[in-house]
């Protein structure tokens, strides 16, 4: 079985992190974002994954070689020479997605994190017998997104409404699709939107069905949602394999710590924290609702909350870092500095406090 992951472009919403690393390789819960999806696909028997990319293919290809071997799944790239939107890449990868088996293929959006109930989705798809299935998820503020209006009992999709002004429904497109090869006949090789052009046509033919996604869903393409997403992911991890979470007197709530990280005395870590490989957290440090990337050193008595600390950065003694502070790669926050929402580009030293949210170039 095959799958396509829409990786797309520059990941500008996740800057400054994506100034150092292409977005699918930015770690989420100590694992590259795209690996979460590739592993879920491998688990249900997908044998080949095609990545639709248009940016930094060399970096992606190197990473993929490493994981192809480790995971035992074939990973290829389909590179757009011009942006093809959300449907065009499928046409571009047509030859890779269709084989003689006639089996449906998955399409995933690379920014999405969820429990990936892909087996249930295959079952749902077989039962309704339609051409395409999409996952939808319930949200509190549907008008921020594209709403899928569907018949509750069967899941048959009536129509899509982009950012509706009045309430038409509270289910939105979760970015996970299961499509029959015939869908490819509906897509031309040009910039095309799957929500605006392709799905509405399939819905009109009464061939599109929506399944409500059980469990959590988050689009982690921007820092605020990345941090919320970590909380949801770790909650889910607690239920499924809580042994992976850290325990101990210094841990509160759900905390993920890489085995190569070191944590000092008198720290209080959590809730909702991920600490990456090779990190050093010195004594007396307080961490909550934050992600600490590979190779970071947090010095004594520092306090970090609701922030993301980029690879190989350091946070000084008694520093206080909070309120959506995002540090890019190799950023050094000096001792006793306060950062309230500072967004700092790579290779910088922060020598004076950032009192209100500000971008530091």
């Amino acid at each position: 079985m095959k799958a396509l992951i829409l990786v797309g472009g520059f990941g500008t919403r996740l800057r400054p992190l994506t100034l150092s690393v292409p977005k699918p390789l930015v770690e989420f819960a100590n694992k590259p974002m795209i690996l979460h999806q590739i592993e879920a696909l491998k688990e249900i028997g997908v044998t080949e994954v095609v990545l639709a990319i248009n940016y930094q293919p060399e970096v992606m290809l190197n990473f993929l070689k490493e994981f192809e071997a480790k995971l035992g799944i074939k990973i290829t790239c389909s590179q757009e020479t011009e942006p093809l939107g959300t449907a065009g890449p499928l046409a571009l990868a047509r030859d890779k997605l269709i084989d003689d088996s006639g089996e449906p293929f998955f399409v995933l959006n690379s920014d999405v994190i969820s429990e990936y109930p892909l087996k249930e989705m295959i079952q749902f798809h077989k039962t309704h017998g339609g051409e395409a299935s999409i996952m939808v998820t319930k949200v509190d503020e549907p008008s921020k997104y594209g709403v899928v209006v569907m018949e509750e009992a069967t899941g048959e999709v009536e129509r899509f409404v982009e950012k509706p002004k009045i309430f038409v429904g509270n289910k939105i497109n979760a970015g996970i699709y299961l499509l029959n090869p015939s869908v490819l006949d509906r897509i031309e090789l040009r910039p095309t939107s799957i929500e605006k052009e392709v799905f509405p046509k399939i819905a009109a033919d009464k061939q599109l069905y929506a399944m409500v996604l059980p469990g959590f869903w988050m689009d982690i393409g921007q820092p605020r949602d990345y941090i919320t997403g970590l909380r949801l992911y770790l909650d889910s991890l607690r239920k499924k394999s809580s042994s992976r979470l850290a325990t101990g007197p210094h841990v509160v709530g759900n905390v993920l710590v890489d085995e190569t990280a070191k944590i000092g005395e008198g720290c209080l870590i959590g809730p909702d924290v991920a600490i990456g490989p090779g990190c050093v957290v010195e004594s007396g440090v307080r961490l909550s609702r934050c992600t600490v990337m590979r190779g970071v050193r947090i010095k004594k008595h520092a306090c970090i909350s609701s922030s993301i600390i980029g690879w190989h950065s350091t946070v000084g003694q008694w520093a206080r870092v909070e309120n959506m502070t995002i540090l890019g790669e190799d950023v050094h926050v000096c001792d006793e500095i306060y950062s309230n929402g500072g967004v700092v580009l790579p290779h910088k030293e922060i020598k004076s406090s950032i009192l209100k949210p500000e971008i530091v170039m």
Binding site: T12, H347, K348, M361
Partner: protein, 415 residues
């Protein structure tokens, strides 16, 4: 007077990628020395000035960038100016004087009688021939280009005191807290090969002191330079300051313009200064037009031969348009740098801005800034491949590469 057969070598310090983050966001896409001012890469201006020195044998660019960043440029400029230009990469930092010393063998290959040392990010008229003549008259080891600035701004630079008659350097101090002098170091020097002996002297002295300190651990705690490796020699603190007042160093004052190009804002200001200079030195490089057959041109404007400008557009003053740019009907450009492959569509307005490579400025859109070259958001900067949609207004903002603006913004940095 010096013999006319004596060779001269020029060394231009170009810096490196992580050395200065102040040139962001432009430095995210191009090495600062290659960013165009008045239609030519920044480093081209000191290089052209060096070319005017009689008996110039070689030009070396010294920096921390990867060789491949300069390979193409260096080969094309060598061909164009018919003088060998080479890029030498410093493997590790040696300080501003240590870097020169590090490559002394290459520099001395042609046995030059004089060596020019220039900083790439300095914008001035580079009166190198006059400096060399003055240097020969003074008979010292080195001559420093200096300029008078306002007393308030002097503290950002190296301040020096010179004898008003002999022009000897009497005192030098780097970025002092209190006022010393309104005469500052322009970052352009000429030396005789004795400079290498002086630099080596500093290294050995430091090595001796380091050895001595191993004996006394109390002294090790006191020393301010204990953390500097022995081969790290700074031109200002380690050579100029100690040798001031010893009849070795002299000054040559320039009355022309001088600026440091540390930020994108300053690059726009310096582009204008060089465009104004072209009017005297190479007026054929500037564009002209009155709206009949070609666009209306006001003031100093550079338009690359491959750029296309609609005759109904009005361009200038202080505009530089790079290769393959397209300026549409009715567009108005004032005080801006338009980089390669940019498309400015009908009736758009660009004032006090830098528009990045391959960007597109929509119809009736307006990209502008207050024009304060020193303020953080004083000029609007659009990175590579930024798209400003029709009728959108962008004021006093910085936009990183690959963004599309479909709503107006003011005073913002958009990542």
């Amino acid at each position: 007077m010096g013999s006319s057969g004596e060779k001269v070598v020029a060394v231009i310090m170009v810096g490196g990628p992580t050395k200065g983050t102040r040139f962001r966001p432009l430095s995210l896409n191009v090495a600062k020395p290659l960013f165009p001012l008045a239609g030519q890469p920044m480093v081209h201006h000191p290089i052209s000035a060096c070319k005017r020195i009689p008996n110039l044998a070689q030009i070396y660019l010294v920096g921390f960038y990867e060789e491949r960043e300069f390979a193409l440029y260096v080969s094309s400029i060598s061909n164009e100016l018919k003088v060998p230009v080479r890029y030498l990469r410093e493997e590790k930092p040696h300080g501003s004087a240590g870097g020169l010393y590090n490559f002394r063998d290459r520099i001395m290959e042609d046995s030059p009688s004089h060596i020019f040392l220039l900083n790439c990010d300095v914008c001035c008229s580079f009166p190198l021939q006059e400096m060399l003549e003055a240097h020969r008259r003074y008979g010292g080891m080195g001559t420093i280009l200096v300029i008078k600035v306002s007393a308030e701004s002097a503290s950002q630079f190296g301040e020096l005191v010179a004898d008003p008659d002999t022009k000897e350097l009497l005192h030098y101090t780097e970025k002092p807290e209190t006022f010393v002098s309104d005469l500052i170091n322009c970052g352009v020097y000429v030396f005789t090969p004795d400079i290498f002996t002086a630099i080596q002297g500093v290294s050995s002295q430091r090595k001796d002191r380091a050895n001595l300190r191993r004996v006394s651990s109390f002294e090790a705690l006191q020393s301010a330079t204990r953390s500097l490796p022995t081969d790290f020699v700074r031109l200002d603190q380690d050579i100029l300051s100690p040798l001031a007042g010893k009849k070795q160093l002299y000054t040559y004052e320039t009355m022309d313009f001088w600026e440091q190009i540390k930020t994108p804002g300053m690059s726009l200001k310096c582009s204008a200064l060089y465009l104004a200079q072209f009017r005297y030195t190479s007026p054929h490089l500037l564009a002209s037009g009155d709206g009949s057959k070609s666009a209306t041109i006001i003031g100093d404007v550079f338009i690359h031969p491959s750029a296309k400008v609609h005759p109904t557009a009005k361009i200038g003053p202080n505009v530089s348009i790079s290769a393959n740019a397209r300026i549409g009907p009715g567009a108005r450009l004032i005080s801006c740098i338009i980089l390669d492959d940019v498309e400015v569509m009908e009736n758009a307005v660009v004032i006090h801005a830098i528009v990045g490579w391959k960007s597109s400025i929509g119809r009736w859109s307006r990209v502008q800034a207050a024009g304060d070259f020193n303020a953080k958001l004083g000029i609007t900067i659009l990175g590579e491949a930024v798209s400003v949609e029709d009728e959108v207004v962008v004021v006093n903002s910085i936009v990183l590469p690959n963004k599309t603006l479909n709503v107006s913004v003011q005073e913002e940095i958009i990542l």
